[in-house]
Amino acid sequence: MKAVALPIAGVLGTIAVWWAATVVFGIRQIILPAPPDIVAAFRAQPGYLLRETGATATETLTGFGLAVVAGLVVAVLLTAWRAVERAMLPVLVALNSIPKVALAPLLVVWLGFGSRPKVVLVVLICVFPVVVATMAGLTSTPAELGELSRSLSASPWQTYVKIRLPWALPQVFTGLKVAVTLAVIGAVVAEINNPGNGLGAVIVQSGMSLDTPLAFAAITLLAVLSTTLFYLVVALERWLVPWARAISG
């Protein structure tokens, strides 16, 4: 009961504050629409908005999935050989620091207009937190477990699969939680740059046609999408690493 009631209370409270602000300060719709305007914008074309949400969700999930796989692999490679870390981490940091907004147009130039540049942008934007968090997790194996694995002459592969990765899981999930919300943003940034479809396209176009409530309807759907994905990751964490809660207090 409480598990559902409190978050709902939190969200409703936030909406109430916002609504009150628009009324009290007499904020114009074009600057900040009130909740009912947004509901109206959604109800005007729900099918369209849901279809675009689906498009964004698909890009997000594909890119996120690829980023998780790539991030884990990169983190394992970087932690397995200190020389690789020394040589490649700065490159990774530098590449990661290229603002994706500046990169998005180039991706269209290189990869065209389909979903490919969008998925690539999602991967680029959300792989870094996965790498950093997984690396942190992989290098935090307690000394006695590290000794255990060495004294059993476990192969590097076994060390990772049986000891270091499971131990890193709680920290990997920190990365995934950050990454999943970035993934949504990545999809939107890509769509803004090539506004064929998706909620990013809705935001761009409604901006051009000055339909702020429609933009906010799209933003609200993004928030819902992002929150849903975040809590799916949280649920997965609860399911995969129940022991993490048990050994902490």
Binding site: R28, V109, A201, G207, S209, L210
Partner: protein, 311 residues
Amino acid sequence: GDDEQPDNGKPAADKVTYLTAFGAVGRDAFAWVAQEKGYFRDAGIDVTIQLGAATGENLKVLAAGQAQFANLDLTGTWILAGKGQYKDVRTIAAIHQQTLVSIISLEGSAVAKPKDLEGRKLGAATGSVNQLLFPAYATLAGIDQSRVQWVNAPPPQLPALLASGRVDALSTFLIGAKGLEKAAGGKKTIVNPYSAYLPELYGNGLIAPVSITQGNPDLARRFRDAALKGLAYTIEHPQEAAEIMKKAQPAADVTAAVGEITLMTPYVKTSGVIDKQRVAGAIATLEKNKLIPPGSLTPEAVVDFALAPTG
């Protein structure tokens, strides 16, 4: 080969990608009209319409071969060609016979005429033609441009800045005026077009890379005619054109689009005509205002007169 031949014996349609000038707004509606009315199909072209962004970004997409045709701001495109940044495109039709860049302010605000800009904030897209042309405009209009405070912002944001009073005026396309009035809560706009002082400059036009204009002029011709047919229909039926666009792009706004189409109509010749003399005049204006180096461009270097409608 034979697989690509449809059963009815007609040759397979050419597949091309077309870029709009600025997302999905009224000035670009004609492309969807041409699509919906089957003008492209009848011309044997299978067109995919993609939403374009700023001039520079669109040119990059053309250069990379990801699109074959685009609707672009001709003045901006020619300035870039004159500076030697990217020359491998040719104009094949004009959509707007004059530049639509204007100073726009709200009724009752401090800026009623161009001269009032002195000491005021003027918003515009960073590095856009609006800013590039301003010195020329200011000189001709007698404005002390050193006293104008520029505020840079991306094009889609400009209306909100004016409506919220963060800037006193905008330098933008006049066809955005209807949307602005809506954004400003019904206040009327005051529009001072640059074309009052800079009448030689063109607005939007259709362009294609030389690989198309020289390698496949027939395709370019067919595309041009189909697009212009769409333009003609759009000018005659603004409401229907806006609705056609809305069907393809549900986030588009019909009222604002109709407003834009109506506002741009006086500047449109549906023949898409480009006059060599006027092109030379435009180039001279750009040279005179030091926007391009002297002698860097000839009309032939920017317009394919074999393709552009001339009469």
